[in-house]
Amino acid sequence: MNFIDNPGKLRGFEKNIKVEKVSRRSILKGLGITGGFVLAAPVMTRQAFAYETGAGKMPHGVVVDPRVFVAVAPDGTVTILAHRSEMGTGVRTSLPLIVAEEMEADWSKVKVEQAHGDEVKFGNQDTDGSRSTRHYLIPMRQIGASARTMLEQAAAKRWNVPATEVKAVNHEVVHSASGRKLGFGELAADAAKESVPAIEGLKLKDPKDFRYLGKGQVSIVDLHDITTGKARYGADVRLPGMKYAVIARPPVTGGKLTSFDPDAALKVPGVEKVMKVQGWPWPSKFQPLGGVAVIARNTGAAIKGRDALKLVWDDGANGKYDSVAYRKDLEEASRKPGLVVRQEGDADAALKTAAKVVVGEYYLPHLAHVSMEPPVAVADVKGDKAEIWAPVQSPGGTREDVAKTLGIPEGNVTVNVTLLGGGFGRKSKCDFALEAALLSKELGVPVKVQWTREDDLHHDFLHTVSVERIEAGLDKDGKVIAWRHRSVAPTIASTFAAGANHAASFELGMGLVDMPFEIANISCENPEAAAFTRIGWFRSVSNIPRAFAVQSMVGEIANATGRDQKETLLALIGSPRIVKPNVKDLWNYGEPYDSYPIDTARLRKVVELVAEKGEWGRTVPKGHGLGIAVHRSFVSYIATIVEVAVDEKGKLTVPRVDTAIDCGTYVNPERIASQIEGAAIMGLSLAKYGEISFKNGKVEQKNFDGFQVVRIDEAPLVTNVHIVPPGPDTPPSGVGEPGVPPFAPALMNAIFAATGKRIRALPIGKQLEA
């Protein structure tokens, strides 16, 4: 039987991928549970909202119930649960803010509490795919409106007036005819006795009355704690009697322990025990890799003990993985026909008759997430019960996986979600929590497993490595008449199923088959690529290499035809229209195409907006250049202009970045700006330095000296963010991820403008040095 494990975590895995040994997270399991309305999208009638989302198709769907998410205390304090994980996007503030807005709560009297992992109770909790606002704007408004309605009903009863005569305003319910008022706290007990109103009948606020939504005046709820050291991340959890563990894992993915000698480790002061950790054969989804754990009274002792271990490993089949050789394999594969995944017209024939063919072959290596907080988890397993504290993006999935790994019922597992010190997709995989659970079970005491930075780099679920080869055929007037794009990269599916050698549909849908240009003859192909390490989601996923290739090619076409980059880009995008790629089961970030089509009018608009605000075409000093790129991802539209300066020695700096984003209806523009500013830094990091390479099956980079990221002295001097105001019914779309993909190609186009050098392989490294 073919099945999907978890469409949330798998981000749109298709049913044609066989995932063995992984039980299905049933969507149906969440239906009909007591204590809440469990709804499938659409969550409201089409009369009320002009769009549907894919929220209901996520595991456990959406729960709309004020009794689950909102509590009002007699002193008036309103507690709102945040059920998504906070990793820096601001979601722990934004979603509760939506509830507060709609229920007329005063934000200064709101407390946010983090929900534990329980998708039956809270609905889907997979915080990934830039989905939270997109899927929860309406449900959170409905929850807020339900709570408000219950408070209003309670007041109306108290005053013996019709409910239509009362109105909640800023934490009170008022009866304007008599001038009477009651605070939310005074109504709390009575409101709790009110029945939860039917969703269909809820009256939502008119957006013109919004106090918080779309304003950007509210700081994140954890701001004070973060600046005073009180904010609690995974690593900060301390339990009585807790032991500290680090683990030596097989240096090659799929390798096994042959033997080990614990003696020297046991002599290190503070080390208490050395023990084997169970591993699972590769590929094994998120199951631990196994190895040897050193248990100590503090992390420092555990690390020192691990350094003293004598370990012999059997590297296994992946011991030959070599990035230099692998790159050649990918390049060769990209030069031969592959599985055709989109075909319109006849690209082969048109390329043969084209007046000119522009060819670009682009290489992007593996990337590591390196969230500032390395993976870490605390587990306390007693008998058949387990409690976990961990910075996980998928508390529901973690709960399931802990239950399965320990062989106990899911109901016996509590997953407490701490703040995440960065996630970027790494913490969608709960292997570190499973390690802690296994160790705690064996030791009978609470255990914290801390990954070092070296562990993080050596055992990541890496961003794929890819060759993207594009051939563009031009007619005698320079118009592009043919487009062939071959994308070759190991797939995330390989982490779930042995022998998965082709991209999953969700990977194809990230910048390959959804390519929006108006070209008569298109062929998108996906030659095979085998995986030799764990591949996983990295912020923006396959959009990074695809946008890099497609938008660099736009720059190459502009150069070949002697035209302006922006004009070339707009000519390729073509007329304002809804693009309908000839693709079977086009993956659209899990969203219905009617609500979230590929709309070239919106794509053009962000290009034009960024060109206007970013002063495209302005005169720049000698050695400077401007580059532009646009990309639709996570159903948002983003265009970026980068100004680069390259000195005589080839050192590059970025004086200015402008980005325009159309993410539909939005909640907190201040956090949108912070995400886009950060995306420019991440884009610059991967462009300048981003490379994880393998030799003899092992990652060559050890720490931030080998895997560098951009520091403040290299950061763009100015990053301007321009947000497209949404139309009245524009559905919300992604923010966390879409900022990254256009940055690197815009930078490459800028470098070409500045120097005449076309960089096709990342990282830039020393390529600009003469």
């Binding site: 992390t299 500032m372 960065g422 950061a715």
Partner: protein, 150 residues
């Protein structure tokens, strides 16, 4: 027995004298505001102030600070209202926030040494502190704000 003053309080340690200060602070003293990011003084997440100097607690042993005064993020200001902390909040610097204790301690040490740093001096002094979320533009603005009065 090693004695060290941490945030004004005398603490003692009779275990491994080579234990990095970071792990003493976090695991033995329970001061978890100081973060582990790399263990090699490459990222600055573990920055604390020893006497008046910013140091990386991940490569500083507890023995190295014997008899000295260590200030962590918890002890920077009793109410969390050090000018750097206030500026950080005013500019809404953090995203995930994990590196920010180290950033704030580094910035506080910079301002002790140089109350009115220039743009280049800020960038140079803060370049040992990595923020993977990419809050650099705001960090720079916040340090500047803290130096000019919040």
């Amino acid at each position: 027995m090693i004695k060290v003053k941490i945030n004004g309080q005398e603490q003692s340690w009779d275990g491994d004298p080579d234990l990095p200060l970071l792990w003493f602070l976090r695991d033995e003293a329970g001061l978890t505001g100081t973060k582990f990011g790399c263990g090699q003084a490459l990222c600055g997440a573990c920055t604390v102030i020893v006497d008046k100097e910013a140091v990386r607690s991940c490569i500083t042993s507890i023995n190295d600070v014997a008899g000295r005064e260590v200030t962590t993020i918890e002890g920077l200001h009793p109410d969390g209202d050090h000018p750097v902390q206030k500026a950080w909040r005013q500019v809404n610097v953090p995203q995930c926030g994990f590196c920010q204790a180290g950033q704030i301690m580094q910035a506080a040490a910079l301002l002790m040494d140089n109350p009115k740093p220039s743009h280049d001096q800020i960038r140079e002094a803060m370049s040992g502190n990595i923020c993977r979320c990419g809050c650099y533009q705001r960090i720079e603005n916040a340090v500047h704000l803290a130096s000019t009065g919040v």
